[in-house]
Subunit: 315 residues, 2 copies
Amino acid sequence: MRIDRKEAAARLLKEDDIIILCHRNPDGDTLGSGYSLHFALKQLGKRSRLLCHDSIPPKMNYLRGGETGEDFPPQFVVSVDIADEQLFGETLAPYRGKVDLAIDHHPSNSMFAKETLLDDKAAATCEIIYRLLLEMGAAISPQIADCLYTGITTDTGCFKFSNVTPDTHRIAASLIESGCRFQQINKLLFESKTMGMMELERRVLNTLEFHDQNRVALICVTLQMLRETGVSESELDGISGIPRKIEGVQVGVAIKERDQNEYKLSIRSSEVLDASKFCAQFGGGGHARAAGCTLYGTIEEVQQTVVAALTKALR
Amino acid sequence: MRIDRKEAAARLLKEDDIIILCHRNPDGDTLGSGYSLHFALKQLGKRSRLLCHDSIPPKMNYLRGGETGEDFPPQFVVSVDIADEQLFGETLAPYRGKVDLAIDHHPSNSMFAKETLLDDKAAATCEIIYRLLLEMGAAISPQIADCLYTGITTDTGCFKFSNVTPDTHRIAASLIESGCRFQQINKLLFESKTMGMMELERRVLNTLEFHDQNRVALICVTLQMLRETGVSESELDGISGIPRKIEGVQVGVAIKERDQNEYKLSIRSSEVLDASKFCAQFGGGGHARAAGCTLYGTIEEVQQTVVAALTKALR
């Protein structure tokens, strides 16, 4: 059942011993949402704990602020930025069917929770959490502001994507006033690169291929490349965006090897293609301009499959 | 003499047949400031014309909106985003000593104009122009909003740099409400790369050098590289930022060949160095985190000079 912000705030204010679930392969929005909610609940005198199937990307460790998490028997389960229970990952599988409140901005949310606070106009779930925390009477501390800003800047590509609204900027303005370290955060997330990452970029550029009259561009990232450069899969967001940056390219595809004959595809598209709908045919999903799916087979087969499907979709 | 916004607005409302000067090697802020002011003056029934020593970078042609510019004997001269008359370039040299009103945000403004509207807290001159246009009673049309947003997004590295304030975001919010095409603008300016640019990046990465315990990183861009990849000097902004992106690097230097034995240096620094002060010793200037200067000699001499000076400055 969908509920509004006031109801969600009332629910959280009433409950205690709260578990917060983030999605697997966590990004800035799910972690920023989770930690900002966690710190606000703590501020309000409650116990809460954040759970995620995967570990936090090292770059985003600042979000935790040294938190290790208290242990307690959970009384209430909240999921943040999770569109579907499939995204819980194995470790969190026991929580399937047991989420009391889902807070999310994905239009594709499968309404798996008892109650859902959904705003698909929000550029990031952190925008929803920001308003929710104000509703709950929580103070936006610099630490909470850091978390919320992180979700907003990562989900909007630092205010670049089409999901940005005037509200996105106004919330960012308030978070800067609350003391968020926007410059350090953006430098860390967007401007900083390890030598390994730079070497990976160079190798990945060598795999660049064009199709469908240069409207489709493809890159590949193999497990060997990751091993040899020391880059982890969670750091590949920027790499996935490379093909779409080339002038004239309408659809950029990053094919990332996950296991033998298993490839995760990241699709970034202009207005000519709904990437979420495109990925749905392969059991994937996401947003209209950025979505993902998993394909099986050799890398050549996967390339052929996606190029053929895209050529058809763009016709 | 410094004047305030109200006085500057009154002055512009009173005058007609206005020449607007932009600085040489024009960037998004000087052009965005110039064109937004031009379109506003036109809207208010005045004649105005924009002048610049160099031609507009092709990427930013959208700012002109097909304007070619009327010819008329100028009655009033305004400069936008110009810190010093040195930055006029040769073509505009006749206007030295003749600027009636300078609108600028550089702390280093040399007060060369009869009257100066200066706000060194503004992230971009376009922020000052935005408030000035409202003061003048001009409507922020989508076209004007595009120009103003362009200056703000380019001078803040798309809301990343330390010069961003809550006001920067609030103005961006208003400009989005006024219909600026922020997504297309950001994609064009930050996300889009020609094949030539990608090839140039690959070549430039091969020149990457580290000094002073990896706190200083240097890249070189030669005229030959530009010739062979078809990239123009005005498009090198992103390239200049590459060294500073590497983790641990405090000062990133891009050495760009301009002529035989003449090199333009772009310095980007963290808080450990005031780049503007550093460049001043070589007759250059700019902002604390990003500044530039010109050095003469062979490329090896220039490299040695800058590395020695930086090592000393960082001691």
